[in-house]
């Protein structure tokens, strides 16, 4: 209960700051919280908005599935083989801290405009954190698990499915939490550059029109969505860690 009150307080302070900033810079530069909510409610009533949401959600879902599957698979491989993990880790960390937008033209040239480029861009952002969390989870897994599977003479595939994956599941969820927000960011940036649909496109077109109310409304929608998903994954995370 206490936590909820605290979060509400923080939200109130942020809304107050927003309102003050609105008063300071004027209505044409930053719409007030109330008019943004009104604009959002109005937008939520239109079918076009939900088309864009659906488009972004589809790209996000594909990207998340690929990032999760690829990240866990690669993470397991690099985690089980210690040397390959040691070799790969600095390369991965460097790729992670790279401004991936610079590679965007390459993605477009390879995948063309449209859904696949957005998905690829989302995967590029989200894969590495999931991979790193998986790899480190396997490295720090209690060695007795692997010894037990050896005693039972489990095959490699069965060891992975019955021993390794259940053991690292909580860490994979933590990785997914980070990976989720980065994948969303990747998909949105992808839509901002080269797409005719989706929330990112809505943002760029509003930006070109100087329509600050729409920008703020979409930003508010995305922020609430991202925070809600993050909160859910965090709750799952906490529950799994206390198991």
């Amino acid at each position: 209960m206490k936590r909820v009150v605290d979060s509400l307080l923080v939200a109130l302070v942020i809304v107050a700051c927003w309102q003050c900033l609105h008063w300071a810079v004027g209505n044409s530069s930053l719409s007030s919280p109330w008019s943004t909510v009104q604009a959002l409610v109005q937008m939520l009533g239109t079918a076009a908005f939900w088309d864009n949401v659906g488009e972004t959600a589809r790209a996000l879902a594909y990207a998340l599935v690929i990032a999760l599957a690829g990240g866990v698979a690669l993470g397991v491989l690099l985690g089980v083989n210690r040397l390959s993990g040691v070799v790969a880790e600095p390369i991965l960390l460097n790729l992670y801290s790279l401004p991936k937008v610079t590679l965007y033209p390459l993605v477009l040239l390879v995948f063309g405009l449209g859904l696949s480029a957005k998905v690829a861009f989302g995967v590029m952002h989200g894969l590495i954190p999931i991979l790193m969390f998986t790899m480190n989870a396997i490295r720090e897994m209690r060695p007795v698990y692997l010894r037990a599977s050896k005693t039972m003479r489990l095959s490699f595939a069965r060891t992975i499915v019955h021993v390794v994956l259940p053991a690292i599941f909580p860490e994979v969820v933590s990785g997914l939490r980070l990976g989720f927000s980065l994948t969303l960011l990747g998909v949105l940036i992808g839509e901002m550059f080269a797409s005719q649909r989706g929330l990112g496109y809505l943002l760029t077109s509003a930006m070109n029109l100087g329509d600050i109310r729409t920008i703020m409304a979409v930003a508010l929608f995305l922020t609430v969505f991202a925070l809600a998903c993050n909160g859910l994954l965090m709750m799952a995370d906490r529950r799994l860690k206390h198991r």
Binding site: R3, D6, S7, L9, V10, V25, S28, S29, L30, L83, V86, V87, A88, P90, I91, L93, N94, S97, L98, P99, K100, V101, T102, L103, Y104, P105, L106, L108, L109, V110, R177, L178, F180, S181, L184, L185, L188, I189, M192, F193, L203, T204, A206, M207, G210, I212, I215, M216, V218, A219, L222, T223, A226, L227, C229, N230, G231, M234
Partner: protein, 256 residues
């Protein structure tokens, strides 16, 4: 100890071999035409063209603009993050309510606020620096809090025993004790500043490396585009390597 050192050495040798092999593979694929030149130009061509560009100075202005923005954003976010971290640490009640925000901050796609900054601050360096600071300041706050939390109690006590004043204990005890954590924050802040600056230049701006890459892409100048990409890749890698080296020194000192 010996075998461990040997392992580290052989691992980095393998790493260099893997990266070199990857580059050679792409080079071969490009040269043999399996990857068409309209998609990717050979790495050697990127490199030679990049050297020509640097010599000719075609993109000097863009590179300098981006670097200045990155340096400015890094400095602002490190100082601001450190100051905010100190403040939040001193006020536990504020900290308790702000902690959930800090832990879920990176779930918010900060870039969506870039258009707002453009409208408020105008087109130019200011909105770019602002968005980069917004992206990188929170890691610095978290690193500062983390460092302050982990000052060993023995150090607090020895400061009391020696009757150091508040300021002296802050400078001679707290700062050195938190330095490794602070540096990790600095390292991450610089990485985020790079991402923030180059990505916002890409979205909307009139100069900078990100802008130049976007411009070259729109005009089908693949050679310029890939040379600039390579430049960013090499630059970020070099900065990372240097910062990681320093970071490892600090971490080793912490373990002692």
């Amino acid at each position: 100890m010996r075998t461990w050192e040997f392992e580290v050495k052989s691992a980095s040798l393998i790493r260099i071999a893997v990266v070199a092999g990857f580059i050679v593979l792409i080079e071969l694929l490009c040269r043999s035409g399996i990857i068409p030149a309209s998609v990717l130009i050979p790495p050697s061509a990127m490199f030679t063209h990049g050297v020509d560009l640097l010599r000719g100075g075609k993109f000097d202005h863009d590179i300098v603009t981006s670097l200045l923005n990155i340096v400015a954003a890094s400095i602002v976010s490190v100082l601001l993050g450190f100051a905010l971290g100190l403040g939040i640490h001193a006020l536990p009640s504020v900290r308790r309510s702000i902690e959930p925000l800090l832990s879920s901050y990176y779930a918010i796609p900060t870039f969506i606020f870039y258009p707002v900054f453009i409208v408020i601050l105008g087109i130019g360096s200011l909105p770019i620096i602002a968005i980069a600071v917004m992206l990188s300041v929170v890691t610095m706050i978290t690193a500062t809090l983390n460092g302050l939390d982990r000052i060993p109690r023995a150090l607090h006590k020895s400061a009391q025993v020696m009757r150091l004043s508040r300021w002296r204990s802050a400078i001679y005890i707290k700062l050195p004790a938190t330095l490794p954590y602070l540096f990790t924050g600095v390292k991450l802040s610089v990485a985020y500043a790079f991402i923030g600056v180059i990505a916002s230049e890409f979205i909307l701006s009139g100069s900078g490396i990100g802008y130049a890459i976007g411009y070259a892409y729109n005009n089908f100048q693949n050679d310029d585009m890939y040379s600039l990409m390579l430049f960013v890749l090499v630059l970020v890698t070099l900065v990372n390597v240097v910062l990681n080296r320093i970071d490892q020194r600090f971490q080793a000192r912490r373990r002692r």
